[in-house]
């Protein structure tokens, strides 16, 4: 485990690792991982399926370690995942980000992130579909895919998490300015240049702003979107 990590909890089952951290008094640089989550949630309280085989964890770190806007830090965490997945041998390379924090593989959802900022810490939680499979009859907002499905083999969860920490923590602490740059994130955002619908409004996604907000052109005007779900007009 990364030397910065002070506490590493492994739970066979948890309602959600984010919920566990919220109710705990664990210090910064704590990580909580669960084999399954019984109440994992995404944005707006949506259910996040967490069957066995996936990698579900939350990292608590102090807000003081980075001067970058928190949303860009979180997107940087997703970017670390994207780079890590692309480095894996015998694994497809067509990974991308969907604003604000979905990880896609071949246009399907392979992971997601949710974060909470408290007074002096940020809890960032990831759910990555690794060795798990999905109920084909279930109705998902975005079709899911796992790394095993994409790569045709099983992956070691401990190894993946350790490699992600090796990427994310140094980037967060020492190299945040360049790693979390908007340009770097924009380069991987599949959302940009596309016709999308956000909060019921249709327009073209053209970039992300200083805080990580989505910049959209709508009827000749520029609108900044800070919260909402991006629905693609075309399939990714």
């Amino acid at each position: 485990m990364h030397p910065e990590i002070k506490t590493h909890l492994y739970l066979p089952e948890s309602i959600s690792t984010q919920e566990y951290l919220r109710q705990s008094s664990l210090p910064p640089w704590s990580i909580v991982r669960a084999s399954i989550q019984t109440g994992g949630r995404g944005r707006n309280g949506r259910r996040w399926d967490s069957p066995p085989g996936g990698l579900y964890y939350s990292l608590r770190y102090p807000t003081e370690v980075s001067s970058q806007p928190p949303a860009l830090q979180i997107m940087g965490g997703a970017l670390c995942w994207l780079e890590l997945l692309q480095e894996l041998p015998e694994t497809p390379k067509d990974f991308s980000l969907k604003w604000p924090n979905d990880l896609l593989c071949r246009g399907k959802k392979i992971g997601g992130v949710l974060a909470e900022q408290h007074a002096d810490v940020i809890d960032v939680g990831f759910g990555i579909n690794v060795n798990n499979f999905f109920d084909e009859l279930a109705n998902y907002r975005l079709p899911p895919i796992s790394l095993s499905e994409a790569g045709g083999r099983r992956y070691n969860l401990d190894d993946l998490l350790a490699r992600w920490l090796e990427k994310f923590i140094p980037a967060l602490c020492r190299d945040a300015g360049s790693f979390f740059s908007r340009r770097r994130i924009q380069d991987k955002l599949i959302t940009l240049g596309r016709e999308v619908v956000v909060n019921g409004k249709r327009g073209k996604a053209v970039g992300i702003g200083e805080q990580g907000e989505l910049i959209m052109e709508m009827d000749g005007k520029v609108e900044l979107i800070f919260a909402g779900d991006v629905e693609e007009v075309q399939q990714y």
Partner: protein, 145 residues
């Protein structure tokens, strides 16, 4: 001295006529009565609550002068509870202190816990759950008394 029966009759008259003042002088038996004309506002008693200062009932949405507004520090989506099936962080009547979490504002999947940063009693929740908010929107009114 004013006869007891007369005093009772005057008191009854005061009530029936909605009189606001009643005076009397002994020996000469001088009585002074006055009533408030329609539409005029009766003077508030000393124990009247501050919230009705100015002698007008508080209109819906208009805070009392001494209430403190908790404003949104950012653009995002307002959430009154940590989860859809959970109890709200605070409700009218709840006591809060500076570090009490009163709501969450979500922006770009980052849930920001918003603290009261003041002390008092929640008087009004100004937003509904999952409502979009702009920076500096009033989220709550707090009575610091």
């Amino acid at each position: 001295m004013i006869p007891w029966q007369t005093l009772q009759e005057i008191a009854q008259l005061k009530e029936e006529a909605a009189l606001t003042e009643l005076g009397w002088t002994d020996e000469e038996f001088e009585v002074k009565l006055s009533s408030t004309p329609p539409g005029a506002v009766a003077p508030a008693a000393e124990s009247a609550p501050q919230a009705v200062r100015g002698a007008k009932p508080r209109a819906q949405g208009a805070p009392a002068e001494n209430w403190v507004a908790i404003e949104a520090p950012m653009v995002g989506t307002f959430y009154e509870a940590p989860a859809p099936d959970a109890e709200p962080f605070v409700q009218p009547g709840d006591k809060v202190s500076y570090s009490t979490t009163v709501c969450i504002i979500e922006a770009m999947k980052l849930m920001n816990e918003i603290e009261a940063e003041c002390k008092g009693t929640i008087k009004e929740v100004c937003k509904t759950d999952a409502e979009p908010v702009s920076k500096d929107d009033t989220l709550f009114y707090v009575d610091p008394a």
